[in-house]
Symmetry: C2
Subunit: 569 residues, 2 copies
């Protein structure tokens, strides 16, 4: 049993059950929650569905007895005589502390133009015959909101065969599938040679199709290249840089409409849809189909400004990718996240795509079911996490390390190299490589420090890393800023050698430690490793320094993963 | 041309175009909005899709010339030389004043147990062969969120034939259709004889199917009756009576999940989903499939209380209907609004339903397209509005008229009768029948006045009526409370004869008019009619008084409709 599944101390306090876990985590479980989630066959059918009606539980429900059984299960006898048992691993997996909830939350991997060099892609023959290949392709769609597929036989109807690998076609008034080529008297501008800006399909349809596939059957025109942009990235950029515009677009829905002889579709969505927690959940935008805006008089001009700002960002070259489909190529997009468009194409030659719609729910179910089977087999997918990290380097590592002559990626590779040269352990090498990882996963402007913003990148990074890595990797990373304040206090030579940018940020970080702060720092776990890491960090600012590439450090990262049975605590 | 489509005064002011219409309505159009909605073939493809890119319009766009052409179109020449023309009727139809937007907003017709006596229903043979019958059936589903269908041949697969009349089947892991009967080792409790409380189907699926159909093939068990409840009504009831609980359910999503051997579905929705404007837009609830709640510690107990309050309301007999399907019967529900359930059924005998999912968008498109064709033919559907009014009487008219020995319906029928006996015009008879209509369309508790709440029912009612009726109906209704204050000021005998409940509400309403207020009142249009109406109102409190029924007043209502060419202004 892992320490995270081992109960240290079980207590009743304030009408709740509290658990201190062997790894130091703390959980609180309310009695009503425990009773509601009783796992016994009376409360839950063998098929996993709930039988217990939440409304039938007495309001003040409380245990008459509570303890741990010999096999370590938490056992409760309730006032009405009902008995419940909970496996510690189940309780830990469902702990609802803020930290545990944040750990479990999935966040999309945002991307920009840089993803062009590492497009998520697969071969049709592979995903049609190999569950592992299909799983990886579906996981890429889930993470990035799109993927390419090559080698799909250029025959009509094949796009539906692709959908059948993971879900169900969503039939609409355009049919189960539709042909995209120039026609005379088109009912939709898609069926002309006109260029189309980035858009989501069918925002006039509620529910909107959540997946769209386009499969190239022939292509011999000039132009007609496809463009993609990550709408979630665009929305987050707007939220950061123009929060009022973001709010205007999120709060004021636009009506979209489509009419032809037999069809009269109309639906209302905000361009940026938020979920109940305020996270970006859906993008709806198509320049061809908005109805005239219906806004409060005072909002008309501000809303137009916000709308134009959003549309402007959609067209930013650094957020967009462009590629041309050859016969047999196919792409799939999450149609509530990734906007697709195309450049105009000539009347000469043929361009014939077939498209169809489907829904994410089928894809997600297939992916979850394949992941579940892999996990049952003990395959814990460390490479997925390492790939996610390498993706973040690729997406955001080219930004300058503020005030230094190196990029973020160069800086972190130099730090890892310095650790290796110092014969550091693999976990400390991993910590050196990841020490500024927080900079790569939040979307603040690069010059925040100059504007007096302390981005607390060490906490952002550590929170992410703690989900996947052991404390020997996480803690030096979390402490590397405090370590600078510590070294400035205990080593005058260290302070004298700081770069100008590092002196500027020192002030924001709180200045050198007092004597008392320094003693408290030394008492922290991994304080010594953090101080060593700090020196690698400070040395890693050499313009043009030569280092190994990221791939070289894969074994060090793997050694630090929690899921690696050989990793040290 | 109707006065509402006739421009009285066209002005440029504050960088905007303002229009005073012949019927007194006032519109403001911003220049950027006008330019953005240019109707010319350069800006809009003949198929109706937009060609103009909003982002390409210069920010400070303004007219160099503006006027009305001989054929009454508004013509604008813009600074860049582009010319736009707008038909007055188009401008009026797209006016975005607060009043115009409120007029166009569709609100669902909420219902409770009373709808059992007037179930929205049709015969399969009729809707399969007659567009008018199909339109009425689809309009009922759109308005009430459900409908029944009789005489569907009790053959497997017919449920899909019904969907094909208006839309497309949504295929899922359960197949294009599914059989609901008891089976051994069910993967879903639907396939047992257990009773099921009111629920929406598949809240673990995102997007959730928005329509569900169930068709009865055989039924010879004891029990197995179907129940329906209007989730929007339940949510609005909760919003009125327990606003904190409403907010907790709207703001905190619940995860729903379903797993079997090949499926792993999971999605998160608040029980009460709101749109960007705060209107109730979707209900997701199923007692079988919630995952353990993941809430802030401080919210666990309040959320459970809110959840239980909601589930308790779902089971209220006065909000629920119950019926038993016979072979050949089918019902359809809006699966994000109306919750369905069933009573348990015995193992003896057969109960076999076939179900399938579809989406609202197909239904709404088919309905809108049929309505468009009817309107093109000049059929303006006054009976739809009168039916909506009669529905509100049926749904809410049985409540007591506070402090008086009559129900709301009895009170308003007696007032209409008094108007007829006084030889009032049909529009004043209509006003008398509708004078308290505001009480029937908002969901406040019946004893609001006793708690010091002035519900302003006259404004609520007038706002609804103004969408459909001429001022001769609307204004006396709006003024009937002011008329009471007026009569108390000018007629001491009137004040002396008020009922105790009416004296109590007089205080809330502001007491008798001052002399100045009385003069101002007399100057209002329809003040004399309002005073006459007031006397009918006061006389209409006779316990057991005999009156004609609502149907008797249909001609008076029709005479007062705006859309009636013979109606007087």
């Amino acid at each position: 049993m892992l320490p995270r599944e081992q109960i240290g101390l079980l207590k009743q306090a304030d009408g709740r059950l509290t658990i201190d876990w062997a790894d130091g985590h703390h959980s609180v479980f309310h009695y009503i929650w425990l009773r509601d989630n009783c796992r016994c066959p009376q409360c839950r059918h063998p098929n996993g569905q709930r039988l217990l009606d939440t409304a039938s539980i007495p309001a003040g429900i409380a245990p008459t007895q509570l303890g741990q059984s010999q096999n370590k299960e938490v056992e409760i006898e309730w006032a009405d005589g009902h008995r419940s048992r909970y496996e510690p691993a189940w309780l830990r997996a469902h702990c609802y502390s803020a930290a545990a909830r944040a750990d479990r939350r999935k966040t999309p991997r945002l991307w920009g133009a840089d993803i062009a060099s590492r497009l998520p892609q697969a071969e049709y023959a592979a995903i049609a015959s190999d569950d592992g290949a299909l799983r990886d392709w579906l996981a890429a769609i889930e993470a990035y909101g799109f993927a390419l597929l090559y080698g799909v036989p250029a025959r009509p109807g094949m796009v539906i065969e692709v959908v059948k690998l993971f879900g169900y076609v969503r039939e609409t008034n355009y049919g189960p599938l539709f042909d995209v080529k120039s026609v005379v008297n088109p009912n939709n501008l898609a069926y002309t040679g006109l260029g189309l800006g980035g858009h989501t399909d069918n925002p006039y349809r509620d529910p909107t199709p959540t997946l769209q596939l386009l499969h190239c059957l022939s292509s011999s025109t000039d132009g007609g290249e496809n463009t993609l942009v990550d709408g979630f990235r665009v929305a987050e950029r707007l939220r950061t840089t123009e929060p009022e515009n973001f709010a205007l677009l999120a709060q004021n829905p636009v009506r979209f409409q489509f009419q032809d002889e037999d069809t009269d579709l109309s639906a209302e969505f905000p361009l940026i849809g938020l979920d109940a927690r305020g996270a970006v959940a859906a993008i709806h935008y198509n320049s061809r189909s908005p109805a005239p805006f219906e806004l409060d008089e005072a909002l008309v001009e501000p809303f137009y400004a916000a709308y134009r700002a959003f549309v402007g960002l959609l067209a930013s070259p650094e957020l967009q990718i462009q590629f041309k489909l050859a016969p047999g190529d196919l792409f799939i997009v999450d149609n509530e996240r990734v906007l697709h468009g195309r450049t105009g194409f000539s009347a000469a030659g043929q361009r014939h795509l077939q498209g169809c719609y489907a829904d994410r729910e089928g894809l997600r179910s297939r992916l979850a079911e394949m992941n579940r089977k892999r996990q049952t087999l003990g395959d814990i997918m460390p490479n997925d996490i390492i790939q996610e990290i390498f993706d973040a380097f690729a997406a955001h590592g080219d930004q300058l390390y503020v005030g230094e002559p190196v990029s973020m990626t160069e800086h972190m590779l130099q730090a890892a190299q310095a650790a290796e040269q110092d014969a550091a352990s693999p976990t400390l090498v991993a910590a050196a490589l990841l020490h500024d990882f927080g900079h790569l996963i939040h979307d603040l402007p690069e010059d925040s420090a100059e504007h007096g913003i302390d981005t607390r990148h060490e906490e952002v990074g550590a929170a992410f890393l703690a989900r996947h890595f052991v404390p020997a990797v996480v803690e030096p990373t979390r402490l590397h800023v405090a370590a600078k304040r510590y070294l400035c206090a205990v080593d005058p030579a260290y302070l004298a050698n700081l770069s100008p940018a590092s002196i500027l940020s020192l002030k924001l970080q709180g200045g050198p430690h007092t004597a008392e702060e320094a003693r408290a720092f030394e008492a922290l776990p991994f304080a010594a490793e953090a101080a060593r890491l700090r020196r690698y960090d400070d040395a890693a600012k050499i313009a043009g320094g030569q280092t190994p590439d990221l791939e070289h450090y894969r074994p060090s990262l793997a050694a630090g993963l929690k899921t690696n049975p050989g990793s040290s605590q």
